[in-house]
Subunit: 334 residues, 2 copies
C-alpha cells in the first residue's frame, strides 16, 4: 500500500481475558486497520507484552502505515491500574501484577502511550462517540461477569488515589448478602452480574422450571451466557425472565446510588447482558431508579443502552490518548 | 472605625434552620467581622431575603468596612440548588422553593454573589483550610439530622445536572429497610443519622435500659441531641454506646460505597455526632470501611475527623466565591 506520511494515526488496544484487539484510527477516528490475537495469559507477562507489541504491529501492517505515522497509543486494560505511572496493578483474569506496560510499548513504537482501565475506555468512548457526546457527566455501567463502571466528568475520566476507580460492582447492597469473589458479602455483583444471574438460572434448570434453557445450555454455568438467557426467554421460560428482571432491578439499586451521589446527565448501560436483552434492562433499571431516587432527582438523569459495539474499548482508549496529548481533558464540553 | 478602601474582603454566609450567620474575611481569610440572626423561616421568602441582606449589612458594620470594599459573597444554603443560575430549588427545613437568591443580594451589595450547598461549602472549607488541603479528591460526610456529603475533586465541587449533588444520606443500604423522610425505605440516613440514633436511644430509655440518658433527656427525641448521647455514654449507659456504634458502623457502609466508587485521598467526618464522639466515629467507620472495601482499596483513603468548627460553612462559602472569581476551580492542586 502507499505510505501515508503525516503523523495522524491513533491506536486503540483492548486487552480481554481471551482475546486482544488493536485498531488503527485516522484523525477523524475512522477505522484504518485492525488485528486480533488470543491473549494466552498463561504464558506470563513477558510473553504477554511481546504479544501486545506483535498485535499492534499487525494492525499497522493492516492499515498500511509505518510507526512514525502514529500520534499516540491508548491501551485499555482490565483491572486496577495507575494511569499516571503507566503501571498495571492487577489483571484479575490474566494473573499479571505490577506490570510496567508503558515503557516497552513506547520503546517499540516511538510514540506516547497511555494506559487506561478498559471500562473507563468504554465510558470515554460513549462520551466521545456514543450517547454521552457533549454531556458534562457521563456514567457507564456494564454488567458482565462482574459489574464494571466508569465516569467521565467535564471531559476527564474520574480517577481515585493513584489508580482507576468506580468499582460499582463492589458497593454493598445486601447486608450479610451472598459471598462475592472479592471476599466480601452482598456486593452489587453478587446479585446483578451475569454470573449471579446465570447461577440462579442454572438452579432453575436443575429444578426443572426452565425447559428451554435446559435444552440450550443445561445446568452448566459456563454455557449459560447472555445469548442463552435471551434465547430461553424468547422461547417461553418465564422463570428465566423473572431471574433476569430481578438482576436488572438490583442493577437499578446501584443506579439509584449513582444518581443520588452524582446526578449525572446520562447513564449508559452496556455489556453482554444488556446487549442481549436491552428492553428488559432499560425497563427495569429505569423503573427502579426513577421510583427509588430522591424525589427531586426523578427523571433528571437519562438512562440509555449503549449503541457502541465491540470496538468501544479500543476506540475509547485511542480517543483518550488523543485527549491527553491535545490537553482536552481539563475542558468542560457544555 | 477607619475605612479600609482596597477591594479585598470576602463574605461567607451560612443559612441554618434556626440561625443565619455572616462572616467577613480579609484576603488572608482571617475573620474581620461577623453577625448572626435567627432565621425565622415562617415569615416567608421575601422576609427571609431581607433578613439575609440585613445580617450581611451588620457583619460589614462589625468589620468596619463599606460594601465597595467587597470582592465577593458566598452563600451556603441547605438543600438542592443550581449553582450556575443562583436558584435555590428547595430548602427542606425552611419551606423556601425556587428562590432566586443571587440577584437581590448582588443588587444590595454591588459585588458578585455565588450560592453553594451548605454541605459543599463545608467540604470546600475542609479542602482549603482543613484536613483536605492540597488533596486531589476530598470527600466530606456529615451525619446530623440527615446525613450530608460533598466532594471536591481537583479543586472543583462535584455537581450534578443543573444542581448540587452527593446526597449520600439517600443511598439505599437496607433493602426494604426503615421509612425515610424522603419517602423511600432503607436510605443510609434511616440507620446512620442522629435522628435514627436518637430514636433508638429514646426506645432504650423507654425500656429502662439507659438510666443516665433518662435523667439527661428522658424519652423526648427532640432533647436527645449529640451532647446528651455523649454525656450518657460517659456516665455509663452501655446500650447507648452500642446504639451510637451501630449507627457509626452503618456510616462505615456508606463510606465503603464512596471508597469503592471514588477512592478519594481523604474522607473528612464532621457534624454534631462526630464532634461529640470523635473516637467512636473514627474507630467504627475506619474499621468497617477498611474491612469492607475491595482488598486493593484497603487503607488507600485517609479517614479523619474535621477540625473546622462552626464557621466551616461560612468560611468555605467565602473561599468558593474567591475560587470562582479567580478561576482557580478548574485547576488541579497536586
Amino acid at each position: 500500500m502507499a505510505a501515508k506520511k503525516s503523523k495522524k494515526y491513533w491506536v486503540g488496544f483492548d486487552l480481554g481475558g481471551t482475546k486482544m484487539l488493536a485498531n488503527i484510527f485516522d484523525s477523524s477516528f475512522e477505522l484504518s486497520g485492525r488485528a486480533r490475537k488470543k491473549t494466552q495469559s498463561k504464558d506470563g507477562t513477558q510473553s504477554g507484552v511481546e504479544r501486545i507489541i506483535s498485535v499492534l504491529g499487525e494492525a499497522l501492517q493492516d492499515a498500511g502505515i509505518q510507526k512514525d505515522q502514529l500520534s499516540g497509543i491508548g491501551l485499555g486494560i482490565p483491572g486496577p491500574l495507575d494511569p499516571d505511572s503507566g503501571v498495571v496493578i492487577d489483571t484479575p483474569n490474566l494473573g499479571w501484577h505490577n506490570l510496567r506496560l508503558r515503557e516497552p510499548i513506547e520503546a517499540a513504537f516511538g510514540c506516547p502511550v497511555f494506559i487506561i482501565n478498559d471500562v473507563d475506555a468504554g465510558v470515554f468512548g460513549e462520551y466521545r462517540f456514543g450517547a454521552g457526546q457533549g454531556m458534562r457527566c457521563t456514567v457507564g455501567i456494564f454488567p458482565g461477569t462482574g459489574v464494571g463502571g466508569g465516569c467521565v466528568y467535564e471531559g476527564q475520566i474520574l480517577t481515585g488515589k493513584n489508580r482507576s476507580c468506580f468499582e460499582i460492582g463492589h458497593i454493598p447492597v445486601v447486608p450479610d448478602g451472598p459471598l462475592c469473589g472479592c471476599g466480601q458479602r452482598g456486593c452489587l455483583e453478587t446479585v446483578a452480574s451475569r454470573l449471579a444471574i446465570s447461577a440462579s438460572a442454572a438452579a432453575a434448570v436443575y429444578r426443572g422450571e426452565a425447559p428451554n434453557l435446559q435444552a440450550i445450555a443445561g445446568t452448566d454455568l459456563s454455557k449459560i451466557r447472555s445469548g442463552a438467557l435471551s434465547e430461553a426467554i424468547r422461547a417461553g421460560d418465564a422463570v428465566i425472565e423473572e431471574i433476569v428482571r430481578n438482576g436488572a432491578r438490583w442493577l437499578g439499586i446501584g443506579v439509584t446510588t449513582i444518581i443520588n451521589l452524582l446526578a449525572p446527565d446520562i447513564i449508559v448501560l452496556g455489556g453482554g447482558l444488556v446487549e442481549a436483552m436491552p428492553d428488559i434492562y432499560l425497563e427495569e433499571v429505569s423503573r427502579v431508579a426513577n421510583s427509588r431516587v430522591m424525589a427531586p432527582l426523578r427523571n433528571v438523569t437519562k438512562i440509555v443502552v449503549s449503541k457502541l459495539g465491540d470496538d468501544a474499548v479500543a476506540k475509547g482508549a485511542a480517543a483518550w490518548a488523543e485527549a491527553r496529548l491535545n490537553g482536552r481533558t481539563q475542558q468542560a464540553t457544555s
